[in-house]
């Protein structure tokens, strides 16, 4: 597996002289690696009772034994990574050739970074000790940074990259702190040693370490107060890399959280501290709602998708948080915890597939039109039929509409939250039900958002010459998208088979029966949960699929049937003007009602300039500019930034540049230290 990535990366170096060859070979290496990774993952997942696969690496460093260890949780995330990586590898070469004039060295560097990025993510999930985990984590961060700034001719990309790398390193520092603390307690770096050390911790220390790790991984996952880098960095990368970052890299952070919460820091067999679950659940709910609300107001296609990643990570965290709350608190609570965890993990896989699909679709649009602003697109459905169809499929999936996969996992999350509400009871139960209602709101807003995104991009008339000139993308790019689309459909229609994959991870983390025993009571096709008290509504997913298809056919027949009255086609009456594409409903206009409702959050700014030279009643030209601010960015980060700047200014004012001044500081420090500690 790693051989594939490494050979891809190396091939790119050797072939740096021939950019096309470098790109092809590099992506081929990634594809081979991804297929090998997927095969390994399925192999491990298929047999949940088998012991974890363990590979000892040769002792390269004198410090510690490095090891790879693939247990079922690792294997599941490896599967998620491999799925999107394979699609991106098929999609990538054509995209890079069509989109960017890649220079010689750049193509090599790009493919090298891609190989390192995917390879380190895959191996990260299989890391068996703290040292290799940290090294791979850092490699992943740096490689993705290189990819974010690979289109350096745009200033905003450089800025986004800087923001990303600073925040990512704050996260890494927190994770490293937790690892080092555990390693010191256990006197070793292997996960087995850390686990033993973690089991014996006092509760205060355990929670402190968990929250540090949660914050560290939260930065990477884009949990709401820490998400500000994400909408800047994800769109900046080439589209198939955005798909990998959004669809997969966030999941690696989720993997880290689950690994710490349920495995390394867990007090073996007894319930986790309640504060963990509540925090994760609350922040997950916040992320879901805030993410989708901001996504609604974005008019940059890729940025919109990036904000949706914040939302979906929130949904995953809602499930994980509930599972943390309920685990090991009695038999029926444990079954609910299994349901919640299965929902979270399934949503991880689902989000990877549909978000990957959407980013690849957005990339197809970008590479043909070279614009990302929704207002400059439009009318692409006729020009790019495959892309628009596949994008629509992804949009339906992310909006949690049956019969696609987004619905399955969100429905399971709902059930878990409602069941959790009755299980916990009291104020906490109320909060759980509140979270469920927020999830419903999120689903609705996501649907609205994708009506906007799809409508503005593909329907109506082209609003710019770029959109008018667009043609369908090459076949290999469509193949990449098609693979993910098939995954979306398969996971939606036959969720029972996916449940079988989740058996291993859920039973190893939560204990008790696996996911398929809890969720699908009646065969692989029926989605039903026996988790909560009295919750057991069965949904036969293929029936829903057939129903939807039948409805679609019926609607088509209804439209096509009554051809009796003569049809006359004439242009719409437009008050005497010639209709232009500017008459279309724009994305900004579509989002306006919600902008007004949530004005408190958005703090919208609008600016209208009118040119009326002759009379105030005759307007020659109008210019409208409006945007919304990210409250976290302005309220927290800008203040923080200002504080740092003013401290730096103060230090600068105190630096005289005189050498005796500096020696003076040394002398004063020395005297103070002598006074404080000199007296033995």
């Amino acid at each position: 597996m790693s051989g594939g990535f490494a050979s891809g990366a190396l091939a790119s170096l050797l072939a740096a002289r021939w950019p096309r060859l470098a790109i092809r070979l590099g992506h081929l290496g990634v594809l081979v690696g991804a297929i090998a990774g997927g095969a390994t993952a399925i192999d491990v997942l298929a047999d949940p009772s088998a012991p974890a696969l363990r590979i000892e690496l040769p002792r390269l460093m004198p410090l510690a034994q490095l090891a790879l260890r693939v247990d079922s949780l690792s294997a599941f995330f490896l599967l998620v990574i491999s799925l999107v990586a394979a699609a991106a590898a098929i999609y990538g070469p054509a995209y890079l050739e069509a989109h960017g004039a890649m220079g010689r060295g750049r193509a090599g560097a790009h493919v090298l970074a891609l190989g390192v990025f995917v390879g380190s993510m895959s191996l990260l999930c299989c890391a068996g000790d703290a040292l290799s985990f940290l090294v791979l984590w850092e490699a992943m961060t740096l490689a993705s940074y290189a990819l974010v700034v690979s289109e350096t001719h745009r200033d905003e990309n450089v800025h986004a990259g800087l923001l990303y790398i600073v925040m990512a390193h704050i996260g890494t520092a927190l994770i490293a702190f937790v690892f080092v603390t555990l390693a010191e307690l256990g006197n070793g770096t292997d996960f087995d040693v850390l686990r033993t050390a973690g089991h014996g911790l006092p509760d205060g220390v355990r929670s402190g370490l968990f929250f540090a790790a949660f914050a560290g991984f939260g930065v990477k996952a884009g949990v709401v107060p820490l998400h500000v880098w994400l909408p800047h960095a994800h769109p900046a990368a080439p589209s198939h890399v955005s798909a990998l970052m959004s669809g997969v890299m966030l999941k690696v952070a989720v993997y880290g959280m689950l690994r710490f919460a349920f495995d390394l820091l867990a007090p073996g067999g007894s319930p986790l501290p309640a504060s963990w679950g509540w925090t994760v659940l609350a922040l997950g709910t916040l992320s879901a709602v805030i993410g989708v609300l901001y996504a609604l107001q974005q008019h940059d296609l890729k940025r919109l998708l990036a904000f949706h990643s914040v939302e979906n990570v929130g949904i995953i965290l809602m499930g994980s948080g509930l599972a943390m709350l309920l685990v090991h608190r009695g038999d029926s609570a444990n079954r609910l915890a299994t349901l919640a965890l299965a929902a979270a993990l399934l949503h991880t896989l689902n989000h990877a597939s549909f978000k990957g699909l959407l980013f690849l679709g957005a990339g197809a649009v970008v590479c043909r039109t070279h614009v990302r602003n929704l207002e400059d697109l439009g009318g692409l459905a006729r020009r790019m039929p495959w892309t628009s169809g596949l994008f629509l499929l992804g949009a339906v999936a992310i909006s949690a509409l049956p019969p696609l996969n987004g619905f399955v996992s969100e429905w399971m999350t709902f059930q878990a939250l409602l069941g959790g509400g009755s299980q916990v009871g009291g104020g906490g139960g109320l909060f759980s039900v509140f979270a469920a209602s927020m999830l419903a709101l999120t689903g609705g807003l996501a649907a609205a958002c994708f009506v906007k995104a799809f409508g503005a991009t593909f329907l109506g008339r082209p609003r710019s010459v770029h959109a008018e000139a667009a043609i369908e993308v090459p076949r290999s790019m469509i193949c990449g998208m098609l693979g993910l689309a098939l995954a979306c459909v398969a996971l939606g229609v036959v969720p029972g088979y996916a449940m079988a994959l989740l058996d291993g991870p859920t039973s190893s983390l939560v204990g008790g029966p696996g996911a398929s025993a809890v969720v699908t009571a009646r065969g692989p096709l029926v989605l039903s949960s026996v988790g909560g008290a009295g919750f057991g509504a069965a949904i036969f997913m293929p029936a829903i699929a057939i129903l939807c298809v039948a409805l679609g056919i019926a609607a088509w027949i209804m439209r096509a049937w009554p051809r009796r009255p003569a049809r006359r086609s004439a242009p719409t009456w437009t008050c005497g003007f010639t209709p232009t594409s500017r008459f279309d409903y724009s994305a900004t206009a579509f989002a306006k009602p919600l902008r007004l409702i949530f004005a408190l959050l958005y703090r919208p700014r609008r600016q209208v300039e009118r040119e009326n030279p002759d009379s105030p009643y005759i307007i020659k030209r109008m210019r409208y500019h409006g945007d919304v601010v990210d409250l976290a960015e302005t309220a927290v980060y800008h203040r923080f930034q200002n504080a740092i700047t003013s401290v730096a200014g103060a230090i600068r004012a105190r630096s005289t540049g005189r050498i005796h001044g500096y020696i003076g500081y040394v002398l004063i420090t020395l005297l103070i230290v002598l006074l404080l500690f000199g007296k033995a």
Partner: protein, 218 residues
């Protein structure tokens, strides 16, 4: 030489070292400070010789000889040469007024004796009150570097601080090993050479003192 006489002698020399230090601090002109530091180094060499005679450690003889040859003769000669070459105002450029410096110096001496009182266990019987004197010399040397603006006087301060470290080392462990002592002295020589060359070069090419370079701050 009996240990008792050695202790007495070293205590007396400690007093002389402090006195020369006060002279350095109070010197109004550059060359006086240089003469004072040369005298201080001579006393330090004598202290080393006394200790060598009392303990019979042959290394200390070498160190004492090197101290007198280099710190009392060669380096002051070099500094005086630089002073003559650049022919500047010979007044000390004080950042802190001299009287104020002397007051601070008094406080530092009191502080070091106060601190050393608690360190009785570290002291050797033979060197008596050398430890607080050494600590005071070192801190006062740094004080010279802080309170004077000219590069030359800062160099004098560095020599004085180095003397203090040497004396402290003698007080707690009969001097540092020979190899380290030689290394330290080489460092000081190198520092003095670099400083001397820099001062002369800056003077000859832009007609400014090193201290004026702070104007370059961005």
């Amino acid at each position: 030489m009996t240990p008792a006489t050695a202790t007495e002698l070293i205590d007396d020399i400690g007093g002389l070292l402090l006195f020369t230090m006060i002279l350095i601090l109070g010197a109004g002109q550059v060359y006086r400070a240089i003469y004072a530091v040369a005298a201080q180094s001579v006393f330090l060499g004598i202290a080393g010789a006394v200790l060598a005679a009392a303990t019979g450690n042959p290394d200390l003889w070498v160190i004492a000889a090197i101290t007198i040859a280099i710190k009392a003769i060669a380096l002051p000669w070099l500094l005086l040469r630089v002073v003559k070459q650049i022919e500047v105002r010979l007044e000390i450029d004080a950042v802190i007024p001299i009287s104020m410096t002397l007051v601070i110096a008094g406080a530092i001496v009191v502080l070091s004796f106060y601190l050393a009182a608690s360190l009785g266990a570290v002291r050797q019987s033979i060197t008596g009150d050398a430890l607080p004197v050494g600590v005071a010399l070192m801190l006062l040397g740094v004080l010279v570097m802080v309170s004077r603006r000219k590069a030359l006087t800062q160099m004098v301060g560095l020599f004085a601080a180095e003397n203090g470290i040497f004396f402290t080392a003698m007080a707690v462990s009969q001097g540092m090993p020979l190899i380290i002592e030689i290394g330290v002295i080489l460092d000081v020589i190198l520092g003095a050479l670099v400083m001397g060359i820099l001062v002369l070069r800056v003077r000859s090419s832009v007609d400014a003192d090193i201290a004026d370079l702070e104007e370059l701050r961005g």
